[in-house]
Symmetry: C2
Subunit: 552 residues, 2 copies
C-alpha cells in the first residue's frame, strides 16, 4: 500500500498578504504530526463580503422569475402560454451558451486563469451520468422537433425553436462541464461566479419547466385509465383540439418524447450539481500535494459482491417482467406485476437495511479516529447526499400516510406500506453508514502517520497501538473485511435501485391508492419532484460507498 | 472609544487532545499581528461524522411525516381529519416540553453542562419578538379554547385540548429560549442535539399546520367577497353545518383568532430560528475574551434618523387609514385606501433604494479592509437574512408576472407593478449593503490594531495610513458619517415596513388581480408562506443594520 503524506506547507492567503503580512508558521517537529493528521487540508481564500453576493442575487432573481413564469403558464394558460415560457427559456439558454463560449475562450488564452484543479469535483459518476442523460435528452429534443414540425402550419414556430436551441445547449453544456468542472478559477472571479449562477439558474428553470410539462402531459394520458381530478386546463395541450398534426408519426413521437422527460429532468439536476460545485470552487486554492492514493482490492471480499450481483440480476429480471406486464390491458396481470415488483423491492431494501445495520455496529465497535480537518468537498458531498435523500423520504412518508389512513386494505396496499417503511429505515441507516465512513481516518493514512511518527517515540507508541489492530500485516482484520463486504453489497444494491426508477418503473402511478387519496395534481407534484432526487441519491450513494470501500 | 483587543491564545480542540496532542502554537511577535487581525476568532470542536447525523435524521423524519399529515388533512379531509393532525401535534408538543424540562433540570444541576455562552446567539430583537408574538399566540389560543368549548357537545374534545396544550407549550418554550438560547452545551451533546431538532421540527410542523389552517379559514371568509375557485372541501370547517355553537360569542371569537394566526406563524419561525442557532452551538467552544465593545453614538448623525422618523410617522398614519377604509363596504373607498397604501409603500421603498445605493457607492470608494476570519455566527446571520428575503422576492415576482401578463390595466395595477419592481431592487441592494457592511473591519478594531502594532514600525506605518482617513481624531470622516446616516434611515424605514404587514395590512388579498390570475389556492399559498418570511426579514434587517451602524 502506498500513501503520500500531505506536506506541512500552509497555503497563505493571497489576498490578506496585500494588506498585512500574516505570520508564516515555522515548520517544527510538531508540524509533522499536524500534517499527517490532516488528510486533505484545503485552505480557501477568505470569502469576502460582496464576492459571492452579486452572483447570488442574479441567481435568486432568475429563479424567482422562472418559478413565477412556469407556475403561471401551468395555472393560467390564457394569459401566459407555453410559448411565453419557451421564449424566456430560449433567452436563458442562449445567454448561458454565450457565457460558456466566453469562458472557454478566456481560459484557453490566459494561463493564469485556472491555476488549480479540484480533484474531487466532477467525479466520474457525475460525468458519466451527465453524458448518458444528455444523450437521452438529445433524443427527446429530436422527437420534440419532429412532433412540432407537424404543427407548424397552425402553431407557433417557437415550439420548434425551443427544442433546437435546447439540443445545441445540451452539447455545449456537456462539453463545458466535461472539461471544466474541476477548474478553480482565479481570474475574473466575479464575472465567473455570475456566469456560473446564470448556468445554475438556467438549469433549474429548465428543470422546473420539464417537471411541469411532464405533469401536464401525464395528466392527458392518465385521464384514459384513471379518474384524475385535475386542475390544469386543456388548452395546455398545445391546442391539440383545433390544430392537427400534418404527418402520420406525430402520435408515436409524442409518446416517445413523453417517456424521455425523466432523463431530461435528471440531466438538469446533474448539471446543476456540477455547476454548483464549480461555483463553490471559484477562487479556491487547492494544494496539489495532498493526494492520497487508495488501492483498490477485490480479493479480500467475496460474500458482498456475489450477493449484490445476484440481487442485480434478479432485480433486472423482475424489472423487465414488470415493464412488460404493467402495460397489459388485463388488470389481473398488472396487479401481479405490481405484487412481484413490491416484493422484490422489499426484499432488496430489507437486506440492505440488515447489512447496513451490521456495518453500523462494526463502526461502533471500531474505535478508529475521526478525520479532524474541515474539508469543503466532503461537506458538499455529504450535503448533496442528505438533500437528495429527502426526495425519497417525502414520497415514502406521503405513501405511508395515505395507506395507513385508508386502512391498508388488500395485499397491494400492505406491501406498499411495508415498502415505504423499510425504505425510510434503509435510507436513514445508509446515510448514517456513509457519512460515518467518510469521516473515519483511512487505514493507509494511519500507516503513513505511524511512519512519520517513528522518531517521536511517545506518539509512535500511541499510534502503533491503534494500527496494530489493522492491516500493518497484509491480511486485514475481520472488522475491516466485514465493512468491505457491506460496502460492496450496498453498492450493487444501490445500482439496481437506481436502474429501476431511472428506466421507467413507476409503481407510484401504476398503483392508484395515493392518486385517489391525494388528488392527482398533488401526488404528481410529489412524485415528479421527489423521484428525480431519489434517483440522483442512488447514484450519489454508489459513488460515496465506493469511496468508503477504498478508505476501509 | 474603547476596544478590547482579542488575545492570542488558541482554543485547543478538546477532543483531538485525547487522541494525539496537537502542537501548541508558540506565541511569537507575529502572533500579535494575527490576533489583532481576527476580530472574533471562534474555534469549534471538530465536527465528527455521526454527531449531528442522528439529530438530523430525527428532524427529517418528523418534518416529512408532519408535512404528509398536514397536506393530507387539507387535501383529503375524509380520511385524515383535523383531529388526527391535532393529536399528532399534541404528541409532538408534549414530547418537546418533556425534553425541555429534562434539559433545564440537567443544566441547572451540573455546572459543567454549559461552560460557554455564545454572546451573539439569541439577540434582543429575536427575544423581544418571541415574547411579543408569543403573547399574541397565547391570546389566539384563549380565543380558540373559548370557541371550541361551544362545540364540545357535538365535536371532538381534541379541538379544545390542542389550544390548551399549545398555550402551555408557548410559556414553556418562551421561558426555555429566553434563558437558554445562548447555551453552548458540552455535556450529553448527542441527546441535546436530538432534543433541539425535536423542538425545531415541532415548531416547523406547528408552522405548517398554522399556515394550512389560516388558508382554510381565509377561504371560508373570502367566498363572501370574492369568487374563489378553491380546492379545500367544506368539511374542513369543523362541520359547522351540522354542529352549532352553544354560546353567543362564538362568531366573534372565531373572527378574533383568525386575525391572530399570522402572529402564531411568526412565533414558530422565531422559535425555529433560535432553536437552529442553539443546535449549531452544541459542543462549540467560544473564547470569552474576544468581546469588542462598540460605542453607540447618535450625535454625529441627523438627516437619516429625522427622515426615517418622518417616514415611520407618515407610514403609521397611512396604515391606520388603510386598516379603517379597507373594511368599508364602499368599493370606491377601498380602492382609495389601496391607492394611498401603494403610493406610500413605493415612496418608502424608493427612498430606501436611493439611500442604499449611496451607501453602496461609499463602500466602493472606501477601501477599508475585510474581516478575514471565519465567523459561524456571522455566516448564520447572513444565511438567515438572505433566506428570509426570498419570501418577499417570491411574492414580488409572482405579482410582477401576473400584472405584466394581464397588461397592467388601471392605476392600481400599475402601482402594484411598480411596487413589486422597486421592492425587488430595494431588497437586492439592501442585502448587498448589509452583507458588505458586516464583512468590513470595524473602525475601533483598526485603531486597536494600530496600538498593538506600535512597536512593529513597518506595520504600524501601514495601518496608521489606513486609520488616518478615519476617526483617530474625534470627528469622523464624511464617508463614515454618510454611512451612519444611511444605516439609521434604513433601520427606521425597515421598522415601518415591518409594522405594516405584521399588524395586518394585506394588499395582496385586498387587491384581487393576483387572486384572479393564479387561482386562490396558489396565491394564498405563496402569500401565506412568503409573507411571514418577509416580516422576519424586516426584523432581521433592522438588527443587522444596527450592527453595521455600530461598526462604521
Amino acid at each position: 500500500m502506498t500513501a503520500h503524506p500531505s506536506n506541512g506547507g500552509t497555503v497563505t492567503q493571497v489576498d490578506s498578504i496585500q494588506h498585512l503580512p500574516s505570520p508564516p508558521h515555522p515548520p517544527t517537529v510538531h508540524g509533522a504530526s499536524e500534517s499527517g493528521h490532516h488528510v486533505e487540508v484545503v485552505k480557501e481564500r477568505t470569502p469576502q463580503g460582496g464576492e459571492w453576493l452579486l452572483s447570488g442575487i442574479i441567481c435568486i432573481n432568475i429563479l424567482m422569475l422562472g418559478c413565477a413564469l412556469v407556475s403561471s403558464s401551468a395555472f393560467n394558460v390564457v394569459a401566459i402560454t407555453p410559448v411565453h415560457r419557451q421564449i424566456f427559456l430560449i433567452t436563458l439558454l442562449v445567454l448561458t451558451m454565450l457565457w460558456m463560449l466566453f469562458y472557454m475562450v478566456v481560459t484557453s488564452r490566459e494561463d493564469r486563469a485556472v491555476l488549480f484543479k479540484d480533484r474531487h469535483a466532477g467525479p466520474v459518476w457525475l460525468k458519466a451520468g451527465l453524458v448518458l442523460f444528455g444523450l437521452l435528452s438529445f433524443l427527446m429534443d429530436i422527437f420534440k422537433i419532429a412532433t412540432y414540425v407537424g404543427y407548424l402550419h397552425c402553431d407557433s414556430p417557437v415550439k420548434v425553436a425551443y427544442p433546437i436551441v435546447q439540443a445545441v445547449f445540451l452539447f455545449f453544456q456537456t462539453y463545458f462541464l466535461w472539461f471544466h468542472s474541476r477548474d478553480c478559477v482565479q481570474l475574473h472571479t466575479n464575472l465567473t461566479r455570475c456566469g456560473l449562477t446564470l448556468t445554475l439558474s438556467t438549469n433549474l428553470v429548465v428543470w422546473m419547466a420539464a417537471v411541469t410539462e411532464e405533469s401536464i402531459q401525464r395528466y392527458d394520458s392518465c385521464t384514459e385509465v384513471l379518474s384524475c381530478s385535475f386542475l390544469f386546463l386543456d388548452e395546455a395541450n398545445y391546442g391539440a383540439k383545433k390544430c392537427t398534426c400534418s404527418h402520420m408519426a406525430c402520435e408515436t413521437f409524442k409518446e416517445a418524447f413523453y417517456y424521455l422527460y425523466p432523463f431530461n429532468i435528471e440531466y438538469s439536476l446533474f448539471a446543476s450539481a456540477m455547476t454548483y460545485i464549480m461555483w463553490k470552487n471559484v477562487g479556491r486554492i487547492v494544494d496539489h500535494h495532498k493526494h492520497h492514493k487508495f488501492n483498490f482490492y477485490v480479493k479480500d471480499v467475496f460474500v458482498g459482491p456475489v450477493a449484490g450481483l445476484l440481487l442485480v440480476v434478479a432485480g433486472l429480471v423482475i424489472f423487465v417482467l414488470y415493464k412488460i406486464n404493467i402495460l397489459k390491458e388485463d388488470k389481473e396481470k398488472r396487479n401481479k406485476a405490481l405484487l412481484i415488483h413490491f416484493i422484490m423491492n422489499i426484499v432488496i431494501v430489507s437486506l440492505m437495511s440488515l447489512s447496513t445495520m451490521i456495518g453500523c455496529i462494526i463502526y461502533r465497535l471500531d474505535r478508529r479516529e475521526y478525520v479532524s480537518d474541515k474539508n469543503p468537498t466532503r461537506s458538499l458531498d455529504v450535503g448533496l447526499l442528505v438533500a437528495s435523500s429527502l426526495g425519497q423520504f417525502i414520497i415514502s412518508y406521503f405513501s405511508l400516510v395515505a395507506t395507513v389512513a385508508t386502512g391498508a386494505q388488500g395485499y397491494l396496499n400492505v406491501l406498499n406500506l411495508a415498502w415505504a417503511v423499510v425504505l425510510v429505515v434503509e435510507i436513514g441507516l445508509q446515510n448514517y453508514f456513509i457519512i460515518e465512513g467518510l469521516h473515519r481516518q483511512p487505514i493507509n493514512v494511519m500507516q503513513a502517520n505511524a511512519r512519520a511518527f517513528q522518531d517521536h517515540t511517545e506518539m509512535a507508541n500511541d499510534v502503533e497501538g491503534q494500527i496494530s489492530r489493522y492491516s500493518i500485516s497484509k491480511k486485514p482484520s475481520w472488522k475491516r473485511r466485514v465493512l468491505r463486504e457491506v460496502c460492496a453489497f450496498l453498492l450493487l444494491a444501490n445500482i439496481i435501485l437506481w436502474i429501476m426508477p431511472a428506466f421507467g418503473a413507476r409503481p407510484q402511478f401504476d398503483h392508484s391508492a395515493e392518486i385517489y387519496f391525494y388528488n392527482y395534481t398533488m401526488w404528481n407534484a410529489i412524485v415528479n419532484i421527489g423521484l428525480p432526487f431519489g434517483i440522483f441519491y442512488r447514484m450519489h450513494a454508489v459513488a460515496s460507498l465506493f469511496e468508503v470501500y477504498l478508505r476501509d
